[in-house]
């Protein structure tokens, strides 16, 4: 199945990076520390093609995200990164950290351990992990990272997240004033560029989109949920099957912006960062299934969605184990859902076209 690619908006090619770059993987990475250290934090998102070189270093039963991330690195896609910051997010990410250090020519790597709870002990533990990251970057790159710089970075990111939310609010309307594809591109851009410049651009885009006349055609409103989906073309493809994607409950989508690090509470910025990150809406790795399911149901209601498409990456244990439970939860709420398992390549999404279109037909135009 050939996936038809939408013509990318001109701003997709923008590069707002005026500083050295450092890579990160997981949504629990404290980007504020990386920015304060003088880097542009760039998400290592891998690719959606076939994996070539990485298969000689990583078993094929690892998810496509970690395999393609390594593959892209081995093919030189991340040569300009000065380092990479990992999080103990899952078994696969931990193993990627091991293999990356052996096979990727990169001077600086660091792994943050991440608790699952939100108690004071958990916050203190993660705070110590963030401090260790700060020390490691300071020592390796010979830079001072002051509290003041971290607070300033927190403020910048907080503003950026607010701007994303303003842009994202345009999707509350029916039909939405901005497509899921456009929003996904902005989310991807946020994760790879200077946040100050991104914020300025987001503001312009929000104004532009607000002033444009609303689209005339109503389509089924859909929430996406599940494993990380980094490629906006996946969103585009689903929209082309007859939906308006109005929220992506991914760590690479809307959920990434549900975090507020800009309002200090204790005066200790690392403590506040730790508390804010651990308090953010959890992903499947953090367990807390009931909380996650309730939040997803709330998103469906808030955005007036007609259903949920859940996308699990093949071999992504953290999400795949939850599929039967989540399916039951959504059904109990009368929410229509489609559960897809893909190998993460754009081609595999194409192969699911019939199922996605059948799902649209099942909900039916009467729902509009």
């Amino acid at each position: 199945m050939q996936v038809r690619l939408r013509e990318a908006p001109e701003w997709v090619s923008l590069s707002f990076s005026d500083r050295p770059k450092i890579g990160w993987f997981c949504g629990y990475t404290p980007l504020e520390v990386l920015l304060a250290a003088g880097f542009v934090p760039v998400r290592v998102s891998g690719h959606t093609g076939s994996v070539s070189k990485a298969d000689s270093c990583l078993h094929a039963n690892m998810c496509h995200y970690v395999r393609s991330a390594l593959d892209a690195a081995l093919n030189g896609a991340y040569d300009e990164l000065k380092g990479a910051v990992f999080v103990n997010s899952c078994d696969a990410m931990r193993r990627l950290y091991d293999v990356w250090r052996k096979h990727v020519n990169m001077d600086f790597t660091f792994l943050l351990d991440l608790p699952r709870g939100q108690s004071e002990e958990d916050v203190a533990y993660y705070q110590n992990e963030i401090q260790k990251l700060r020390n490691a970057i300071s020592a390796h790159f010979s830079v001072d990272i002051t509290d003041k710089q971290i607070k300033a970075a927190a403020h910048i990111y907080s503003e950026g997240r607010d701007q994303y939310k303003a842009l994202n609010d345009l999707r509350r309307e029916t039909p939405p004033r901005i497509s899921g594809y456009d929003i996904a591109n902005m989310a991807a851009l946020f994760s790879s560029t200077s946040p100050e410049k991104w914020g300025a651009y987001a503001l312009t885009l929000t104004t532009e989109k607000s002033e444009q006349s609303a689209p005339a055609v109503k389509r089924l409103r859909m929430i996406l949920d599940g494993s990380p989906v980094h490629n906006p073309e996946v969103i585009s493809f689903i929209e082309d099957c007859g939906f308006d994607v109005v929220a992506e409950n991914f760590c690479s989508g809307s959920r990434h912006f549900d975090l507020n690090t800009g309002k200090p509470n204790t005066g200790d910025i690392l403590h506040d960062l730790s508390a804010a990150y651990l308090a953010r809406p959890p992903c499947a790795r953090m367990m807390r299934f009931e909380e996650r399911a309730a939040r997803l149901i709330d998103i469906v209601k808030t955005f007036g969605a007609h259903g949920v498409i859940h996308i699990s990456l093949k071999f992504c244990d953290t999400y795949l184990y939850d599929v039967p439970r989540l399916r039951k939860k959504l059904a109990a709420e009368g929410i229509r859902s489609l559960f897809l398992e893909t190998d993460g390549t754009i081609g595999s999404i194409g192969q699911l076209k019939t199922r996605i279109e059948a799902f649209a037909e099942m909900i039916g135009g009467d729902a509009l």
Partner: protein
């Protein structure tokens, strides 16, 4: 109502007691003690807990809680050839077949009512994501909360303190759920027992380094399950039994595998369902699995004078599977050298991300010290796709190469 699993443990204990009277081998003693400990789950004197593999069983013991880890039951069901029906049951709910079959089996077994309803569910984030997720499925079936222990990634003092603090929270959780409190004297005795057992374990493992080894490939198969005995008098009995048996054999030049020609290191888990691989290795090639990676005695005797929760936390974070791969790889090199192995076998259990993710590093590391590695693409619990002929062909080629 007596569940099938209760009947299994009961019959196992009775049968082994009889066999022990006929001939007392260390292996029989070991399985007998496991069955006896397993049976406590069904006793009115004990509260019961389903857990993942690395939780502090000593604390449970000292609170009158009989713990049993779900992977053990998954392996047991596979060993008795009954896992298939439970795998199918779990998969009928939409559970992916790419996950770990130890865990899928147990989810199916819980759905089917095979597992007795526990009083408690306690899981650790170490060694894998799947165990915690499976335990949460079981918790949903029994409408019970799961207590989650976040095992830290490193072994720093802060990490040990953080883990010990979680053990304290776990004790509170157990008390709240069951009314049982921690008997610190009993916990100290558990630690004392562990240390005595440690001495026996160290001796028995040292004896296995002899060429030929006094042990057969299966004498210490799945010995990792001794964690279930943690702190009880049984762990001392089992340690002494193996030490005595291996010492006797070593002193009298009795080889575990007569004519031992090749010595092998087994990485990660054994294949749990009945198969002929070990038999083939021993009989045709005179190849003896002299050390299983998971049997490595990684911990030092615990400090009996310090806070027992700190001592247990320290032991936990020093496990080679915690932390970066280097720790595990160093242990593999140490084992390969100490036990003078000719090769290593790694059945890369299909659903195990934490282990198969670094299987290429196993290769690179062991080949650096001239120890070839054979990776078998198998599922250690789910025999539905097991193609013994193909595996044997690969095994034969490997042994011929050695």
């Amino acid at each position: 109502m007596t569940t099938m699993i209760e009947a299994y443990f009961s019959q196992l204990e009775t049968a082994l007691a009889r066999k022990l009277e006929q001939k007392a081998t260390a292996r029989r003693r070991f399985i007998y003690e496991i069955a006896r400990i397993g049976n406590r789950m069904f006793s009115p004197d004990w509260k019961s807990a389903w857990t993942t593999v690395f939780v502090p069983f000593e604390i449970l013991d000292a609170m009158g809680v009989a713990g049993n880890f779900i992977e053990f039951v998954g392996a047991m069901l596979s060993g008795t050839g009954t896992a298939k029906q439970y795998l199918e049951k779990a998969e009928s709910t939409g559970l992916s077949t790419d996950g770990c079959s130890y865990h899928r089996t147990i989810i199916g077994a819980a759905m089917d009512g095979l597992l007795p309803e526990p009083d408690l569910l306690i899981g650790s984030s170490f060694p894998c994501d799947g165990g915690l997720k499976a335990l949460c499925h079981v918790g949903e079936i029994y409408n019970k909360d799961v207590f989650i222990i976040n095992t830290p990634f490193d072994s720093s003092p802060e990490a040990i303190k953080y883990l010990a603090g979680q053990y304290r929270d776990m004790i509170t959780f157990i008390t709240n759920q069951t009314g049982r409190t921690l008997d610190y004297d009993r916990l100290r005795k558990c630690i004392r027992n562990n240390n005595i057992a440690h001495g026996y374990f160290a001796e028995m493992m040292e004896l296995c380094k002899k060429v030929p080894s006094p042990a057969t490939s299966d004498d210490l198969k799945n010995f990792i399950i001794y964690v279930l005995l943690g702190g009880s008098d049984s762990v001392v009995e089992v340690g002494r039994a193996f030490r005595d048996e291996f010492r006797y054999k070593a002193d009298n030049n009795i080889a575990g595998l007569p004519g031992e020609k090749f010595r092998l290191l087994w990485i990660q888990n054994r294949i749990q369902f009945p198969n002929n691989l070990i038999k083939l290795l021993e009989e045709r090639f005179k190849a003896n699995v002299v050390i299983d990676e998971l049997n490595h005695l990684y911990w030092n005797p615990l400090d009996e004078d310090e806070d027992p929760l700190i001592a247990l936390a320290r032991r936990q974070v020093t496990h080679p599977l915690v932390g970066p791969a280097e720790r595990r790889l160093e242990v593999l090199v140490e084992l390969a050298r100490d036990y003078r192995v000719d090769g290593a076998i790694n059945p890369a259990h299909w659903g195990c991300r934490q282990s198969s993710g670094i299987r290429h590093l196993f290769n690179d590391t062991l080949q650096n010290i001239d120890v070839p590695v054979l990776h078998l693409d198998v599922d250690c619990v789910d025999e539905r796709n097991f193609s013994e002929g193909q595996i044997i062909t690969r095994l034969e080629a490997f042994m011929e190469m050695l």
